[in-house]
C-alpha cells in the first residue's frame, strides 16, 4: 500500500484557542503546547472533525472513503464491525506553530519564528520543491530579518517587540522562508515578507510564553448588571495572523466501490482553500482559519 503525504498551512484569521481545558498557572484556560518544546499546536483530531464537516459537499461515497463512515451507534456498542465497515483513507497530522505574530512598536506586528520552529517545519515540508536551507543557530538575543522589513525601527536599527529590544541582522535566508511560506497563500506574500523575523530559540521560547493573546472574560449577572461572583477568567489564544504547518497523509480508499488513489484523496481534502472554525470558543468567533496547500507537483510518494 502506498502512502502519500502533503503538507498544509493553517492561517488564523481570528484568535485561535485550542485549549487544554485546565490550568496550573495564572491563566485559567491556556492553549495546548507540545510537552517537550512548549510549542503551541493544534491536535490533528480537532482538525479532522472540522475538515470532515467542511467537506460535506463531496459525494457521499467519497466523503465516507476519505473520513471513514460515521458510527451508527455511539459509545461502546458501536464498536462492532458491520458489513462494509472500513477506515478513512485520510490521516490528519497535528498543526505546529511556525510563525507567531508579536506586537511591535514599529510596523504593528512581526511574524516571529526561530531556527527550531523552522527546522521542525522543514521536516514536515520535506518533498516540496524549493524548501529553504536550514538557518544556523546564533548567539542571542538577536533578530534576523530580510530586506525592507517594516518592523525595524529606522532610527535605532532595532526591533521593539512587546517588552523586548532586539538587535537586528540582515539575512537573505529569512526572506527566502517568508516567500516560501507565502507560496501557499500568494496574496499574503507582501504581508509575510515585510514582517517575517527569525529570533534565536531562547527569545522565541520567552515569546511563546508571554506574547500570546490573553483575554479577560466575565459573565455578567443579568439581575444586577455587574460581574457575577466568581465568573471572571483569563483565556489564552494564538492571535489572528498566526501561521501553523502540518501534514496530511493518505492511502488509497478502503471503501468498496469507491476506488480513489492516495493522490485523489489528498486532492479532495485540499482541493480549494477551506475556511475552518477550529478549536474552542467557536461561538464567540474564535478559531476561524484557512487551510491551504502548496501548489505544484507532489513527488513524496512513499512505498
Amino acid at each position: 500500500m502506498s502512502m502519500e503525504t502533503r503538507p498544509y498551512l493553517l492561517h488564523a484569521l481570528s484568535p485561535l484557542h485550542a485549549g487544554t481545558g485546565r490550568s496550573v498557572g495564572i491563566i485559567d484556560l491556556p492553549i495546548a503546547r507540545l510537552r517537550a518544546t512548549n510549542i503551541p499546536f493544534i491536535p490533528g483530531s480537532s482538525i479532522k472533525g472540522v475538515l470532515r464537516e467542511a467537506r460535506r459537499g463531496l459525494p457521499e461515497g467519497e466523503w465516507e472513503a476519505l473520513f471513514g463512515p460515521l458510527r451508527k451507534v455511539s459509545g461502546a456498542e458501536g464498536d462492532e464491525a458491520w458489513e462494509g465497515d472500513h477506515a478513512g483513507a485520510l490521516v490528519v497530522g497535528d498543526a505546529r506553530l511556525v510563525a507567531l505574530p508579536v506586537r511591535s512598536f514599529v510596523g504593528t506586528f512581526a511574524l516571529v519564528s526561530s531556527p527550531l520552529l523552522l527546522e521542525l517545519a522543514r521536516r514536515d515540508l520535506k518533498g516540496l520543491e524549493g524548501v529553504p536551507e536550514r538557518l544556523k543557530r546564533v548567539e542571542g538575543p538577536l533578530a534576523r530579518v530580510g530586506k525592507g522589513n517594516v518592523t525595524v525601527a529606522p532610527e535605532h536599527g532595532k526591533l521593539f517587540l512587546e517588552d523586548l529590544d532586539l538587535d537586528v541582522q540582515e539575512e537573505p535566508a529569512v526572506e527566502a522562508w517568508a516567500r516560501f511560506l507565502a507560496r501557499a497563500l500568494p496574496e499574503e506574500e507582501e504581508l509575510m515578507r515585510e514582517r517575517f523575523v527569525v529570533v534565536d530559540d531562547e527569545t522565541m521560547s520567552f515569546l511563546l510564553e508571554t506574547a500570546t493573546q490573553v483575554d479577560t472574560r466575565v459573565r455578567i449577572d443579568s439581575t444586577t448588571g455587574s460581574v457575577a461572583e466568581g465568573a471572571l477568567w483569563q483565556e489564552e489564544s494564538l492571535p489572528a495572523e498566526t501561521l501553523l504547518v502540518g501534514v496530511l497523509a493518505a492511502g488509497p480508499s478502503l471503501r468498496q466501490k469507491t476506488p480513489l488513489g492516495a493522490g485523489d484523496v489528498l486532492n479532495r481534502a485540499l482541493r480549494e482553500t477551506a475556511w475552518l472554525q477550529l478549536g474552542g470558543k467557536a461561538t464567540v468567533g474564535r478559531g476561524r482559519c484557512r487551510m491551504a496547500a502548496w501548489p505544484g507537483p507532489s513527488k513524496e510518494s512513499r512505498r
Partner: protein, 378 residues
Amino acid sequence: MWLASSRERWGRSAPEQAHAGLEYTRGAPLAVLRNEDPDARENWLARLARCKEPARYAHAYRRWRQSLHSPDTLCFTVRALGRVLVGHGTSAATRVGLTLQHTWGVPVLPGSALKGLTAHYVQTVYGPEADDREEPEREPFRGTTWKDTRPIRAPGALFRRLFGAPDLDDSTGKATQGEVIFHDALWVPAEEGRGAPMLARDVLTVHQRRYYESGGQEWPVDFDDPNPVSFLTVAPGGRFLVALEAPGDRPLLERAEHYVKEALEHWGLGGKTAAGYGRFAREEPMGDHASAAARSPAAVLQSTPVLAELKTWLEDQRARKVGQRPQFQQLERDWKERLLELTGEGRQAAVYLLKQYFNLKRGEEQQRMEELLARLST
C-alpha cells in the same frame, strides 16, 4: 535587552506605523507612570488618539470579508453613535483599559461581548419577568438561571438554540452548544467608506473622592478636590462589521441578527452604557451593493463556497462526459435549493456559471433551466 531608555524615543514614529494597543498597555513613558507631569500624560494620549489603522490592515479586512461570503453567514455594518469603551477593567498604564484587536491594534467589538449582550437582552426583554409566573409565550426566551457559579435551571428552547446551555448538576438538562457564531466585529477600514478617527481622548472627573473611597461612610460634599482621570475610548463614528454565522439555518440567523441590532441600538455595548456610551446604528447595506458591483463574477465564484463547490462538480461532470439532461436533473435535485438561498452577487455569479456549463437545446429541461435562471436573476 529589557526596557531601555531608547523606548522613549520611538515615540516619534509615524502614527500609521504604531500599534495603539501595545503602546497603551505596555508603552507608557516613565513620566506618565510616575504621574510627575500632567502634560506628559496628555501628550501621550493625544499621540495615541492620532493613531491610524495600520498600512496593511485594509488587506486583512478584505480577506476577512471574503471569508464571510456564504449563505450561512450574515453580515452588516454598524456605526458608533457615541464613544465606545470595551474592556475598561483590563490593566493599562492609565488604569482604564481598552480592548483593541490584538494583532492589528484597531478597535473591535469582541464576539464574546456581542453574544453576552444579545443573550442578556433577549432574556430580559422577551423572557419571563419572574421565575414563578406562568407565561408560556415567554418561556422559550428564558435565560439560564445561575446560583453563584452553578447553573440551576436550563434555559428556554429558543435561548438554548441561540446561545447554548451549560450542563446542569442534577442532569435534568444536557449541555448544548449555541447554533449561532458571533464573530468579532472588526473595524471597517477608511477606504471602505468615510474614514473616521479610531481613538479619542476622554476624561472622567471624580468630584466626591472621599465618599467613594470610604464606601459611603462619609458624606459627599463639595469640598473635595476634583480628580480628573484621562483615558482613551473608541471615537464616535467608527464602523464595524458584525458577522453572524449559523450553518444551514437562515431563519435562526435572521432572528439573531434582529436581536443583535436591537440590543446595540437600545442598550449599547461595553462599559458606561448608562452614560450613553456604546450605542450603534445599523447602516443600510448600500455600501455593500456599491462594492459588489465592482467585483467580477469570477471573484465571487472563488469566495462563495457553494459556487466553488458547484464549479468543481460541473468540471467533474464535464470530464466524465455526463449528458446535459441527466446532469441538469441532478442539478435540480442536489443544487437548486442551495443556489436559491444565495443573494445578490452570489446569484449573479451562479447564473454566469450555469450559462457557462449548460447548453440545453430543447425539451422540458431547457424550459426548466430558463425558469431557474430567471428566478436567480430577479
